[in-house]
């Protein structure tokens, strides 16, 4: 049982020097970069395509530089979005309102229910967990009309409430938080209990901070899921075009092209939807620092 002469920081290998190790590292990075490029290449290509002219796209789909022969860089793709139906500012506002509220509600309900299912003993727990799984196993499309009828009974069609509330109740979030709470060692709760904390205190002061990575993941995924949500918004604001969110509004524009496929416009529309989420993700992913769990355990 030789002790390795390494720091106690986890997941770190001893920093060997020497040509073999350097070569291995370089190769590792090269592989990572290669795959990273594969993952972002379609987007880079799309971003470029949004600024090419249509004949250029036909001729040189792969090239990253606009062909001067066909007009070089042009904004005609973006301009194609400027149809009589476009309402970008309004749609963006709607998207923001809906996403913010849904995410807040999902985090709240998800962590509460997730913790209860992970740690508390109460009758019917197994049944509820089965229910959580079961409701995800039905394709949303088959629920479209029944859900519309329920919302109509509640009088929330064509309202913000109707767009937000049904999305806030989401089995996925509960499932995710449950699994993350389950991964935390029980000894932490034991410690809190020994110190005289109530369940609520244990939950808010000990478990929730520990589950921070899970909460962050849930925030990111919920933001992305809600921002891109299509079917529910389509139905919830069925008679009211002004309430559309960005994806739904843009779908109306791209659907209007019929047989002709102006790729530069279509791609421009897709890209507009991506940018806000990319920003959110980049901001939040910085919080994935393992130190959060470490300091809590020592405390």
């Amino acid at each position: 049982m030789a002790k390795t002469a390494s720091t106690l920081a986890p997941s770190s290998k001893p920093r060997e020097t020497g040509p073999k190790a350097v070569a291995k590292r370089t190769f590792g990075y090269a592989l990572l970069i290669f795959f990273a490029l594969i993952f972002i290449m379609p987007f880079v290509l799309s971003a470029v395509t949004a600024f090419k002219s249509l004949p250029d796209i036909q001729e040189n789909p792969v090239s990253l530089i606009a062909d001067p022969e066909h007009g070089g860089w042009t904004t005609e793709g973006i301009e194609g979005l400027n149809t009589s139906q476009v309402r970008l500012p309004r749609w963006t506002l709607n998207s923001v309102i809906v996403t913010v509220f849904v995410v807040l509600l999902r985090i709240t309900f998800g962590s509460l229910a997730g913790y209860a299912l992970a740690r508390m003993r109460f009758p019917g727990r197994g049944f509820i967990f089965a229910l959580i799984l079961a409701v995800q196993a039905i394709p949303a499309i088959v629920l479209a009309i029944p859900r519309f009828m329920v919302m109509r009974q509640l009088g929330i069609i064509n309202t913000y409430v109707g767009m937000i509330v049904p999305l806030a109740f989401d089995a996925f979030g509960i499932f995710l938080m449950k699994q993350f709470f389950e991964q935390l060692p029980r000894e932490l709760e034991e410690a809190a209990a020994i110190d005289g904390a109530s369940t609520w205190q244990t939950f808010t002061k000990v478990m929730l901070p520990l589950a921070a990575p899970g909460l962050i993941a849930l925030t990111i995924l919920s933001t992305q899921g809600t921002w891109n949500e299509f079917l529910h918004i389509l139905i919830a604001r069925i008679g009211e075009p002004e309430l559309a969110t960005l994806p739904v509004g843009l779908a109306g524009i791209t659907a209007a092209f019929g047989e002709a496929q102006p790729w530069n416009t279509i791609v421009a529309g897709a890209l507009i939807t991506i940018i806000p989420i990319a920003i959110v993700f980049f901001v939040f992913q910085r919080y994935f620092v393992q130190g959060v769990a470490a300091s809590a355990a020592k405390g």
Binding site: L54, P123, G124, I145, Q153, I157, N158, L234, I238, G258
Partner: protein
């Protein structure tokens, strides 16, 4: 422990019950509709109806349809705005991105729009479901002016449901220069078509590009006097010698590469194949004209009637009408809007700017005067067959399309196609 579960369930039901009491309102509002006997004092034809007209002041109307292009959206919105000015109503055109989804939900959910597009293909479904209101007496100006074949397309079980907004037919679109160069005249019979397609097929260009699906192949059935079903869709009639001959004719053309499937030449559809110069001819509808002008402005084309088969000429009419839901909030207002959009003036105003054809005989010449080169599309109306069946028939045309593609791939024969389609049809009927 059981108690807790029960408590929650009771709470849930109580919540829902409470909500049900308070909710359930429709979202369309109708300002008070007052009936007056005096007609409105504007000059548009729609207003000079002699029946007692309800004033439409402030009535909100929603018109649902799908978009084919932004230009069409604008044009229709303009037309609706003119209606609003003439009557004081507040009608709005709301194009839908996923029409089937939203319309079905609105209808089944009890919250329908006031007027909506009905494709002839969907007429049977809507009529059977009792969701369409039949045309009341007298609200539509001059109904006999509408082409009989189109009126028939929107008649189900003897009831007429809606006036068409426009129509398109299939015709032969060809490259005059290519035909001249190959020394062939425009084909007017199947034999001439075979010869022409062969003469026009070169290494870089096929004779004719045509989509491999029922809405295209069926024209050959019609020209041979055959059909998939009988007139009232109660029997599958595809297993006849005429049908077999017609389908074999088409299959043979694909087999010797004089006809080509668009995807086989890297095109999304036949129009694109033609536009890119990969085929010298194509069988398509009016919409190809706008498409070519936009995407392939340099591509020349001319239009001729489809060649006649052993039993004469045949083509499809693709048409959409303005339907009024059975439980419309304000049927009088809805029909007033429908009439405005489909009477002679409305029909011409709408179709003049585009390449779809007005559904009324009286304005056909007017339209032709501004679209002289598209005459072949118009004459098609005389012998066009409707595109529509019964509810649930999508399964049958799906099988037909699947088998047709298999034939072109070389994996099936015409006998297979007929056999499978007839079997599927018998299942459905």
């Amino acid at each position: 422990m059981r108690r807790n579960k029960l408590v929650v369930l009771v709470l849930a039901f109580a919540l829902i019950a409470a909500a049900c009491d308070g909710g359930g309102g429709a979202t369309t509002t109708t300002a008070g509709v007052t009936t007056t006997a005096a007609p409105a004092t504007t000059t548009t034809a729609a207003e000079t109806t002699t029946t007692a007209a309800a004033t439409l002041e402030g009535v909100e109307l929603k018109l649902w349809g799908w978009s084919s292009s932004d230009a069409e959206n604008t044009a229709l919105s303009d037309l609706v705005a003119a209606f609003n000015e003439a009557t004081g109503a507040k009608a709005e055109f709301q194009p839908q991105s996923d029409y089937d989804t939203t319309l079905n939900t609105a209808l089944a959910g009890g919250d329908p729009p006031d007027v909506f597009y009905v494709d002839s293909f969907r007429l049977a479904d809507l009529a059977e479901a009792g969701q369409l209101a039949p045309v009341p007496e007298g609200v539509i100006d001059d109904p006999d002016d509408i082409y009989p074949s189109l009126r028939e397309a929107f008649t189900y079980n003897g009831t007429w449901y809606c006036p068409p907004k426009d129509f398109s037919t299939l015709a032969l679109v060809y490259d005059p220069a290519a035909l001249d160069a190959a020394g062939v005249a425009v084909p007017t019979s199947w034999d001439e078509l075979t010869a022409a397609a062969e003469a026009l097929t070169t290494d870089t260009q096929a004779g004719l590009a045509m989509g491999v699906e029922y809405p295209r192949w069926a024209v050959f059935l019609f020209q041979a006097g055959a059909n998939l079903t009988n007139a009232d869709v109660t029997e599958i009639t595809l297993d006849s010698p005429e049908a077999t001959a017609a389908l074999q004719y088409v299959a043979d053309r694909y087999a010797d590469d004089t006809f080509v499937r668009p995807s086989d030449v890297d095109a999304g559809w036949a129009g694109e194949a033609y536009g890119q110069g990969k085929a010298a001819m194509t069988i398509e509808g009016n919409w190809i004209v706008g498409y070519l002008k936009d995407s392939f402005p340099d591509r020349q084309f001319a239009v001729a009637e489809l060649p006649a088969g052993p039993d004469g000429k045949g083509t499809f009419a693709f048409t959409v009408c303005y339907g009024v839901p059975a439980n419309a909030a304000n049927p009088d207002a809805s029909w007033a809007l429908v009439n405005y959009l489909t009477n002679a003036e409305g029909a011409l105003a709408w179709t003049n700017a585009f390449n779809v054809m007005p559904a009324r005989v009286s304005v056909a010449d007017d339209w032709l005067s501004s679209h002289p080169e598209l005459e072949a599309f118009v004459t098609g109306a005389d012998y066009a067959h409707r595109w529509g069946f019964k509810p649930g028939f999508g399964d049958v045309t799906g099988v037909f399309n699947e088998q047709a593609n298999a034939i072109v791939d070389g994996d099936a024969t015409v006998t297979d196609l007929i056999g499978e389609t007839v079997a599927a049809g018998e299942d459905v009927i």
